[in-house]
């Protein structure tokens, strides 16, 4: 009797263990493929975190509506488990751990920002969980030899080198004189490295190379130097704060430069906050709705923008577009792999070569997308003060002609 009891207890314990492990390690439950994402829904990145989440959600709904994902002759739908990482890298890493080891997620979507992606990548790598991320552009993400990290966006060092190349072309192929001011964070310093490369390649000279402290709110000293040495191009990157501060102080100090190139104009809502003062600024962007890339799900950029606006009530920033593209990449990889084996899905991701409404996607060894150039748009305003961002470079995608040099403040 006693032995019988022990055997029953043992068998039921094993049965319970199995059943729980089956539930907790079910990356695919019924007809659902469950993806995990830690996103900044509160904290300092919360605006962009929400853009990212909206992008993911829109793509999930669209793919599910249009027939879902076909693997092994069966149709599956996407579902995402979200956690709020509070814009905190430590929390993001904990949540990634939780998503993988407790919730049993076997495929991840990236968080917002390079810093948080850097925190999560070692975790997904450790567990061999493929992660497609759409908002971490720092070059250092792609030089660590990660095998399971794939980024649909172009790396940070490519953000502004188009601007330098355009300036050199406009200068008759001769090198230009560059003044630059970059915040001291991983992303902006990567953008800076890109400019250094471009300067060397084109024989340009860097005459001011300022590093802006993170807490700094004032660029007056840098701009006074710019005024004194009169460079051909002024490059600024310091997230939204840097973009807003630069435009405000350039207008106030009447700094005349033939070309002004910056990052984060979209996120800073430059033209809305500064109106005509932001006119002629050149901005690096991963995506713009007027680009003519196409796919079956969102058709093209303009349709995506219109659909997005209908759903969420605002024009999609590129953070949303690239997040939507991440889901398209996952769908494509699952179908090509035709299995949910992580290793095989990873290999399928590595072999991705597709076009989405957001751009072409093809991953290099390090996981960065090498098939999608950055675009530059220029803020252009009409007489009534209404401003619009128009793509001016590369020429292939341009919807307006670059205005160069920027008219002097005295002539505006």
């Amino acid at each position: 009797m006693k032995i019988k009891n022990i055997i029953i207890t043992f068998v039921s314990a094993i049965a319970i263990l199995f059943s729980t492990s089956v539930v907790s390690f079910a990356k695919v439950v019924g007809d659902k493929i469950i993806l995990g994402a830690a996103i900044s829904l509160t904290g300092k990145y919360s605006s962009n975190g929400v853009h990212t989440q909206n992008g993911y959600n829109m793509a999930v709904d669209r793919i599910n509506e249009m027939g879902g994902v076909k693997v092994g002759g069966k149709t599956y739908k996407f579902d995402i488990i979200y956690y709020d990482d509070e814009s905190n890298p430590k929390r993001a890493a904990q949540l990634a751990e939780r998503l993988i080891s407790q919730d049993g997620v076997e495929f991840m979507l990236g968080p917002y920002s390079s810093g948080l992606t850097k925190a999560i990548a070692p975790v997904t790598e450790k567990y061999g969980v493929p992660m497609v991320e759409a908002n971490g552009a720092s070059r250092s993400l792609f030089t660590k030899g990660y095998k399971y990290l794939f980024a649909v966006l172009a790396p940070a060092n490519l953000y502004l080198d188009v601007a330098i190349e355009t300036a050199v072309a406009l200068n008759g192929g001769k090198g230009v004189r560059i003044a630059q001011a970059f915040e001291q964070d991983a992303f902006s310093q990567d953008v800076r490295l890109g400019i250094l490369d471009a300067a060397e390649r084109t024989g340009s000279k860097i005459i001011i190379d300022d590093k802006l402290p993170k807490e700094l709110n004032d660029m007056a000293a840098t701009l006074a130097k710019v005024k004194a040495v009169k460079p051909d191009v002024l490059v600024v990157s310091g997230h939204t704060k840097g973009a807003l501060t630069a435009i405000r102080q350039i207008a106030e100090m009447k700094v005349d430069v033939p070309m002004l190139a910056m990052t984060h104009c979209d996120a800073a809502k430059l033209s809305k906050q500064h109106g005509k003062n932001s006119q002629y600024a050149l901005c690096a962007s991963q995506w713009h709705k007027t680009l003519t890339y196409k796919d079956d799900f969102f058709k093209d950029g303009m349709t995506y923008a219109a659909d997005f606006e209908k759903l969420f009530g605002y024009d999609p920033p590129y953070q949303s577009a690239e997040s939507s593209a991440a889901l398209l990449v996952f769908k494509d990889a699952f179908e090509r792999a035709n299995t949910f084996d992580q290793k095989k899905v990873r290999d399928a991701l590595a072999a991705t070569n597709m076009q989405t409404f957001y751009g072409n996607i093809k991953f290099a060894e390090g996981g960065q997308n090498v098939d999608k150039p950055m675009v530059l748009f220029q803020v252009m305003c009409d007489d009534a003060g209404k401003c619009e961002n128009k793509v001016v470079a590369p020429l292939k995608w341009a919807s307006a002609e670059l205005i160069h040099p920027i008219p002097k403040w005295s002539e505006r």
Partner: protein
């Protein structure tokens, strides 16, 4: 011309910082509380001006509306938290205000969103010496308003009944109490006045720079430094050290580069503290 530009930029920046430090020195001196939430009060003041701007009211009116609202915010914070830590040691008050600071950051982020925002005054620019020195009028306006408020406060502290009560409490709270000063009321008013000054500074910062829920700490640190350099209860000293630090920062930026700007200010702070200690130790020897 670059030198002149640096001096003027530094002075205009310094005056604004001095105003924030002024509030800190006042309540530090009176209540012996180091307010870590100082910068967050500044940012909250900035948001008041920003929202006026959003609703079509010129943000410059913020310098009047913001301090009035912030005064009451200050008094409420005092009644809820500060009055419980005012007689405790400094460490408790630092912890309490640090908590307030985190709470404010999160609440502002929750209420106003995480975007960096600014209010445009449309004030234009003053150009000197054939456009080689430019002074944004918004900065001149900020400096002017800061000076007006600072002078107003000095006069108020000297002439008004409450001002005298505040000074008496700062000198010796117990004696003031015995002589009939309601120190509880004085403390509440002092914290309110400090918050009001932060409100003015915040409104000015929304016109001259940018605001963001998490941007308060640099203002706390800067005002802390100014107060340390000037010493407590030395209000003209606060103004001088604010402007001095502003100019020093601009020059450090020109000569050493922007990346050394904040670092050089900290270095200066260390040097001043070492020098102070050196002077004090000599004094002690003399007293022996």
């Amino acid at each position: 011309m670059l030198t002149l530009q640096a001096v003027l930029d530094g002075l205009l920046l310094g005056v604004l910082f001095a105003l924030i430090a002024y509030g800190m020195a006042l309540q530090w001196g009176v209540m012996n509380i180091i307010n870590i939430a100082q910068g967050d009060l500044v940012i909250l003041g900035g948001y008041i001006a920003y929202f006026m701007y959003l609703y079509g009211i010129h943000p410059a009116w913020g310098v009047i509306v913001s301090p009035i609202i912030m005064y009451f915010v200050g008094v409420i914070i005092y009644k809820l938290v500060i009055n419980k830590v005012v007689d405790r040691d400094l460490f408790i008050s630092i912890l309490a205000t640090f908590g307030i600071s985190i709470l404010f950051m999160q609440l502002m982020n929750f209420a106003f969103g995480a975007d960096v925002v600014l209010a445009n005054s449309g004030y234009g620019t003053t150009m000197l010496f054939d456009n080689s020195v430019t002074l944004p009028n918004s900065k001149i306006f900020s400096a002017f308003i800061s000076i007006v408020f600072a002078i107003g406060l000095v006069i108020y502290m000297k002439k008004s009944k409450l001002g005298r009560a505040i000074r008496a409490t700062a000198q010796n709270a117990r004696a003031a109490k015995i002589l009939g000063v309601d120190t509880e009321k004085v403390y509440a008013a002092t914290f309110g006045i400090n918050a009001a000054l932060c409100g003015v500074a915040g409104a000015l910062i929304s016109i001259t720079f940018t605001i963001h829920p998490y941007m308060g700490l640099p203002y706390t640190i800067r005002s802390f430094m100014i107060v340390i350099v000037a010493g407590l209860g030395n209000l003209p000293g606060v103004a001088m050290s604010g402007m001095g630090l502003g100019v020093f920062e601009e020059f450090a930026d020109y000569i050493l580069g922007t990346e050394f700007r904040i670092g050089s200010v900290f270095l200066l702070l260390v040097l001043i503290l070492v020098y102070r200690r050196f002077k004090l130790s000599r004094k002690r020897e003399y007293l022996k």
